[in-house]
């Protein structure tokens, strides 16, 4: 087989493995962060600090009874979680994680870090987002349950309403970058103004996209049915919305699809607005930031390990500190730095956005359905339109701003 195919298969295997682990541990992070916002501790028992909790959840979901409600349309009932999860997982394939690097043991070849790149990458993400509405609509309809149907229809209507400001606000950084492919957009955010302000889209000069970024995050919350927009799947309002009648692995599919959509929106926001893998300040100094971060983390873990009085903590905290020291050492090796420092910056920015997702979940109450739709059509859509018009005006008046 050709070399290109083998390298791509290896990349697919790595990205898929990392992505599935991230989905599982994103659930752990969410429960811990929500718990600490609410002054409690979250999962603690299953493994040190609840780190094996996702594994326990997977076992529970696999061994639950797999039932089908009576009089449900069997084909659509089984098709809906399949559509939801497969479309959510496929959008990770075009997101670039790093620049073009040499393949490690084959000196002549170069490969981009990221599975592939499409010329029309942004349109692909929009198309996937548009079609994943069907998973939810079919799930709601095929369960033969009026709460599921209402939840499914409301959720679908919310998703297609928020697709409008989502699409309009995506166009604005495209006008600044003059590209539709993700890798081209990140490459256009590479320089630094005055040698220390990065040229990310939120700082880019004809029109900084700060409002665009905020509107994108709000529309992203609504697209993924997260709080404050999660009335269609809220537990005290509609039993559980469109996934009421789904149990065990089919529920796990919807669950994974929701977290995968969250990760996709965070990655797309990082690529479009926050400059992808480009660091916060110019190159020679920023290569040592990951090492410094992990050294600081290990110092904190060693220092706290003596103080906390819970039973196993004087063993687990120093162990985690040791793991952080090993990671700091890995990031200090200059040969590996060209591969993993860009991935660190990308993961740090996407991770920060995921933390903002979880933070907002713990802080804000949810919208009522008519407030939600009114907000989309009368406020967010005109804001996105005005953002687009102003960006276009500034780009037309001051072209080729460097």
């Amino acid at each position: 087989m050709s070399f290109f195919i083998i390298v791509t298969l290896v990349k697919i295997a790595i990205v898929f493995g990392v992505f599935m682990t991230t989905l599982a541990y994103l659930q752990w992070v969410e429960r811990k962060v929500l718990a600490h916002i609410q002054s409690r501790t979250g999962p603690l028992r299953v493994g040190p600090h609840g780190l094996l909790q996702p594994l326990a959840d997977v076992f529970k979901l696999l061994t639950k009874e797999d039932l089908m409600p009576p009089h449900a349309s069997k084909f659509f009932y089984l098709l809906a979680p399949f559509i939801a999860v497969s479309l959510a997982l496929v959008s990770i394939s075009i997101i670039p994680f790093g620049p073009v690097v040499d393949v490690p043991f084959f000196p002549g070849h170069k490969t981009p870090l990221g599975i592939t790149d499409l010329n029309v990458g942004i349109l692909f993400i929009l198309a996937i987002g548009a079609i994943s509405v069907y998973g939810i609509a079919l799930a709601g309809w095929s369960s033969n349950n009026k709460y599921s149907l209402m939840g499914g229809l409301r959720s679908s209507a919310q998703m297609i309403s928020y697709e409008l400001p989502f699409t309009l606000v995506i166009i604005s950084p495209l006008l600044l970058a003059n590209e539709l492919s993700f890798r081209g957009i990140v490459n256009s955010q590479a320089d630094y103004y005055l040698n220390f302000i990065p040229r990310w889209s939120i700082f880019q000069m004809p029109f900084p996209q700060i409002f665009g970024f905020i509107i994108f995050m709000i529309a992203g919350f609504a697209e993924t049915n997260r709080i404050p927009f999660d009335l269609p799947e809220a537990e005290n309002e509609l039993v559980a919305g469109f996934h009421t009648e789904y149990s065990s692995m089919k529920f796990a599919c919807f669950f994974m699809a929701e977290y995968a959509n969250m990760v996709t929106i965070a990655c797309v926001a990082t690529v479009l607005f926050l400059g992808g893998w480009h660091p916060l300040f110019p190159a020679p100094y920023s290569d040592w930031v990951p090492t410094a971060v992990f050294l600081g983390a290990s110092f904190l873990l060693f220092a706290q390990g003596n103080k906390i009085g819970r039973k196993g903590d004087h063993i687990t905290f120093p162990l985690f500190g040791l793991a952080a020291l090993v990671l700091a050492g890995v990031f200090a090796v200059p040969m590996l730095q060209t591969y993993i420092v860009p991935i660190f910056w990308f993961a740090a920015k996407a991770g920060f956005l995921l933390f903002v997702y979880i933070w907002i979940r713990g802080t804000l109450p949810r919208f009522r359905y008519d407030q939600l739709m009114h907000f989309a059509w009368t406020f967010l859509f005109p804001c996105a339109l005005i953002n687009l018009l102003l960006t276009a005006l500034m780009v037309a008046l001051f072209p080729n701003q460097k």
Binding site: F76, N119, V120, L123, W141
Partner: protein
């Protein structure tokens, strides 16, 4: 490789088209139509039309068909009742369809097989969004503006038709 993809997409398109015409419940027909649109998007990609393929999925597959599915679910449209009104249609229906399609296909094949080359993926890379955009804003500017007025009229029409009556 592109011939394998063409055969898969063509068989999927014809299969979903047949399914649309033969199924009795509108929701199965709607999902078959989504299948047809996805196969057509794959065929557009094989013909080098990347912008049109993505626009097809976003506009047709993501908006128009969602509208169809909403209407089917809201009206609770059931399976079609079989009606035995026309014996002529039941016997001569599909053969007449074949009489329509087969000579047309034969005519197409004889007209086009002599002079044109085969379709190979990658031999034309001019179907980009940039090319479409350039033409839309220079040569086709008037139709573009007229179509935006058309969409506005359609929105107004839909709102007027679907609003509650003021008693």
């Amino acid at each position: 490789m592109d011939s394998i993809l063409f055969i898969i997409a063509a068989v999927a398109a014809i299969g979903c088209g047949l399914n649309l015409v033969l199924q009795s419940h509108p929701i199965s027909s709607a999902l078959s139509l989504i299948g047809v649109m996805s196969s057509l998007a794959l065929l557009y990609l094989l013909l080098g039309a990347e912008f049109i393929a993505m626009a097809q999925m976003i506009v047709y597959g993501g908006a128009v068909m969602v509208l169809f599915i909403f209407v089917i679910m809201l009206l609770n449209a059931g399976a079609e009742k079989r009606s035995d009104k026309s014996l002529f249609a039941r016997i001569f229906g599909f053969p007449l369809l074949a009489v329509f399609v087969v000579p047309l296909s034969f005519l197409i094949k004889t007209t086009f097989s002599a002079q044109v080359s085969d379709v190979s993926f990658g031999s034309w890379v001019g179907g980009t969004a940039e090319a479409v955009g350039k033409q839309l804003f220079t040569k086709f500017l008037l139709p573009f503006e007229v179509i935006s007025v058309l969409i506005l009229i359609a929105i107004l029409g839909a709102v007027v038709l679907a609003q509650k009556e003021i008693d």
